[in-house]
Symmetry: C2
Subunit: 336 residues, 2 copies
């Protein structure tokens, strides 16, 4: 590789100082139209690209953000990433993509590497537990958490949060089933450690209580948030509790698993069992029967997170804003 062209080269060629070249590049300060044009021509001719590295060292900010997510091939996170990238790009920032692969050790490692890259801020979908997560956040220049509640007492109250209103979502889904006359509604609650799962369960319970029904603990089962996890858990639950007429599932993948379990068990959907999912991933509309589900604004989750993060960065101050996005019920064939 031939040496990169530098400001010095441009300055020499144009017969001006480096400072003038810098001003032209950054559209800052006053430069006479004549010299501006002359310098610009040389920049174009030599295909000069200012070094972001050198600039970052001088200015103490990099114009880069970190995005830490468990797995980019999960369509939920992929949409979050798209929203984040879109806003970042529009605002002149670049994004480091970091998959943690659900491994806390790896999460710690990628955050450290982001610190060394001197990112201006980080959007996190973290799998770390409360003691560790606060330690991580403390060292970050700016950070926004997605779908995670923060303990306002114990830890930092100065970190932004963007999350779904999962309690409302759980209530919405359950209410829909109640409205259709269902009284024996099972719950596939997802991972026990999931914040979202807990909130959705709460919404489910509140809807039942509001209808003067008492939640039956034997109708609830935790499961991995996957098709297979849903299939196994649904099969077990339906065999143990044959009186159930409806199932509210942690997410669409679990719901698809439930659909498969029903096929195995010879239970027709929605005639014998109504099924409601969550997230409204593209898959939900394409399985048979198509899933009734709660639409989660995934793109907006990422977009809002970056907007909030940039606000922190520009004010040079962490803010504890909490943004809550609403979900929307989408009625399809699995629970008409």
């Amino acid at each position: 590789m031939a040496r990169d062209v530098t400001v010095a080269d441009i300055a020499r060629e144009a017969g001006v100082s480096m400072m003038t070249v810098s001003r032209v590049i950054n559209h800052k300060g006053d430069v006479s139209a004549a010299t501006r044009q002359r310098v610009q021509e040389i920049i174009d001719r030599l295909n000069y690209r200012p070094s972001g590295i050198a600039r970052s060292l001088a200015t103490q900010h990099t114009g880069t953000l970190g995005l830490v997510i468990p797995d980019i091939s999960n369509p939920f996170f992929a949409d979050v990433a798209r929203g984040a990238e879109h806003i970042a790009y529009a605002e002149g920032y670049s994004i480091f993509l970091c998959n943690t692969e659900e491994d806390p050790q790896r999460e710690l490692a990628v955050v450290q590497s982001l610190e060394e890259k001197r990112v201006d801020g980080v959007v996190l979908i973290s799998r770390l537990q409360p003691p560790q997560i606060y330690d991580v956040l403390k060292h970050l220049p700016a950070a926004v958490l997605i779908n995670q509640r923060l303990d306002r007492k114990n830890g930092s109250t100065t970190v932004g949060t963007v999350r779904l209103d999962d309690a409302a979502g759980g209530q919405l889904a359950t209410q829909h089933l109640l409205d259709r006359g269902h009284r024996a509604i099972g719950l596939l609650a997802g991972p026990a450690t999931s914040f979202s799962g807990q909130a959705r369960s709460n919404g489910y319970q509140q809807a039942l209580l509001a209808a003067s029904l008492s939640p039956n603990p034997t109708w609830k089962s935790h499961c991995p948030p996957t098709v297979e996890g849903g299939q196994v858990a649904a099969r077990a639950l339906l065999l143990a509790q044959p009186q159930l007429t409806a199932l509210f599932c942690f997410n669409d993948l679990v719901a698809v698993g439930a659909l498969q379990a029903c096929a195995e068990l010879g239970r027709r959907v929605p005639e014998d069992l109504a099924v409601v999912g969550y997230d409204d991933v593209p898959l939900a509309a394409l399985v048979t029967p198509a899933l009734t589900t709660c639409h989660a604004p995934r793109y907006e989750l990422g977009a809002e997170a970056v907007r909030l993060l940039l606000e922190q960065i520009r004010n040079d101050a962490k803010v504890g804003t909490e943004i809550v996005l609403q979900v929307q019920l989408v009625v399809r064939a699995s629970a008409p």
Copy 2:
């Protein structure tokens, strides 16, 4: 923000020179065990993070790569990204994620921003046409293209390429249908400009010719690579050519669209019409009937691309290696 801790701070605190600190950090050169430990303790205590920015400026390489793809929320590209990120992380590199949103102008813009970030290399799934793409590649320090053929005469022969053997895939899929006795096999060929689409079409034709059948041009139709595109094109093709007994589709989304068209038209799959897809995205196994399809090693596509890119970077030389990955037929219910 308090000022970052620097080597100078560590050096002062430890009563040694910055050079010694640097040696400890980089595990380079000889440092006595005693001072090494003392320095390391101070580094840990002060939570020192060496500035990658300053280091990059001094060493002239950044340990970062660019990944330019049309859309991260497309499951195909998401898997490619996962493979790329995984290998990059394992080799100590970070990845800038750049969505072009299928917009050539935006692709040019993100590549320019990657140049300014001084990435060590770029993996590209490009939508640029031959004159422009060569110009872009010329200015990149190292680059690998995914699923794109390069003109070895006209342009750079020094850029790596990783692609699927789509001709073989097209042949495989078509041969499967021929083996099952189908003679009237339609083709939903995807976008006319797609390299992959062209190769798959070629494979389809070769399989027919090898069976002494002449491809019927009225049995072939181009379409957008989406569910909706497939549905519209399949409906039209099946109405115009009712004698077709099988359909080979550009990808799984198009195949799902074909499934929907069949449902509309009252044609049973696979009894009245066999359907074969391509890619084997997770969706393929979950629709009804489950899709017979060609499994594309998407993760490997991204992983191999980064491996090849790092080879270029480490040899400080572009290499024109072309890696071809095989696809595999997965037989399911839509074409048993």
